[in-house]
Symmetry: C2
């Protein structure tokens, strides 16, 4: 049970957590915080938060749990603003989609790797964003990855785990670097391919005639190219090394397939497609 | 109006055309043909065809329209089997997803570029296949591309166009090579990326642990990797040159994005993502 939850950045992710915990009766009071009073007023009007504060330090003062759900590029400033205002038992977690960069941000802001900080990443979201899009079921059955550091207090990790479980999520723990590799592979690389493909086709045809002949498969394949460009730019910068390694590895595999097509190596082409289909069918099943 | 339609290869594509033309009252009689009597019997039981013949030459004898909807690798043998049995006014079209290779197949089989052949490609389909998956609305509002050659009889093209329009499709004509480039870009390249990505990730993690953390975007992005491996191997061989050119061009764009990430060139990364999002949003809108 959380007495007072402070959500810094009340959008889809933070708003949905607040709604889920309220629905579960797992939170006493929810305080919203950010620099944008209009956004916060909207969240309060929607009943997502009880009240709000545009001063981050005073917002966290009596909170026993703080969720930092702001863009990756804004993390360091938030940690700097709140560190001295946190109560002695306060636990802080975040929702960033790359974790080494958030750990680096908290280290840069505080000069240490604080015991009160539990890096976290809910693998959930929709193409929408903003508090209007938030809903209490967003985390039902979804994975949340926690990446506690060696310095993280074990009791703090347990408290964050219990919170996400109360919101309906399945919580896993892994090492920071492993998280960043897994996400580079399953999320960041696919986004790069979708953005690069659509941009490539758009340049190829000024009149966009080419898109007229695209069918349903193309629609599904490229949907993620509609994602927020600024958020994804931040992810590229934040998870640069793991993403570059994955891009390089993928390029090797694509070159391998291209070479098989060039050589008309039908057995090799078929083997690649069969392996892929088996893995994809297993993923669905 | 078609008196007698012969469908060679009665699967999703051919079966749905037969159902659509029946529903529109645009066809008198439908004959199914292939080497597989069990498949054909199923199509007859489902009411998709009126009767069937496992001898292709006798199946086409009294048909005024023939649809060849067999895998690309089987086209040449079909044309060789039917050419001498076609009536003087018979028109033949196909449904292959690459067109230069089908024109080459008909040329190899007949020693000419026949006036009676209208190369065609319905841009429609589902992840299912087989006659059980066929339904009359498959072509409603979907594009069908016809790529008549210089030798194709204009009246034959008109007859094929009218047939697809009766099935609910929007018919466009383009040059064979242009078709193959457009499809390489909007369909064949995305399939290569999806197959290569899933195979790449599958090899990366023997336990498939990596797929556990994949979210909805990954599911959509990789759905086409569940497509039929044999059909896609055939497409790679049939549209090899256009596909290789597209793979090369895409690799250049992916290298450009990778270089921007490597150099932390945030403006360039953002510009690529913004262009892609604008094009993708326009495609949906």
């Amino acid at each position: 049970m959380i007495e007072r939850l402070c959500v810094i950045g009340v959008g889809l992710i933070g708003g949905s957590l607040a709604r889920a915990l309220r629905a579960a009766g797992y939170v006493g009071e929810v305080v919203g915080a950010s620099r944008n009073a209009a956004h916060l007023q909207k969240a309060q009007d929607l009943g997502v938060i009880d009240h709000y504060d545009t001063d981050l330090a005073s917002a966290v003062k009596d909170a026993d749990m703080v969720l930092v759900s702001v863009p990756l590029g804004a993390m360091e400033a938030v940690f700097a603003a709140i560190q001295d205002a946190l109560g002695p038992d306060a636990v802080v977690t975040d929702a960033g989609s790359a974790k080494a960069s958030v750990v680096a941000a908290v280290q840069a802001a505080t000069g240490e790797t604080p015991a009160w900080f539990v890096p976290g990443h809910p693998i959930a979201g929709t193409e929408q964003s903003g508090v209007e899009a938030s809903f209490p079921e967003l985390y039902q059955g979804r994975r949340v990855i926690l990446t506690p550091t060696e310095q993280t207090d074990a009791a703090a990790t347990r408290k964050v785990r219990a919170m996400w479980e109360a919101a309906g999520a399945v919580v896993k723990e892994m090492e920071v670097g492993h998280h960043d590799e897994v996400l580079a592979a399953t999320s960041h690389l696919p986004h790069m391919l979708a953005f690069a493909l659509v941009e490539s086709l758009a340049r190829m045809s000024e009149q966009r005639e080419i898109f007229e002949y695209a069918a349903g498969g193309f629609r599904d394949f490229t949907r993620i190219a509609s994602s927020d460009p600024v958020m994804w730019r931040d992810i590229c910068v934040a998870n640069r090394d793991a993403l570059l390694a994955m891009l390089k590895s993928f390029r090797g595999d694509l070159d391998d397939l291209s070479a098989a097509i060039e050589k008309r190596d039908e057995d090799r082409i078929l083997a690649i497609f069969q392996d892929a289909k088996a893995a994809r069918d297993a993923f669905d099943g």
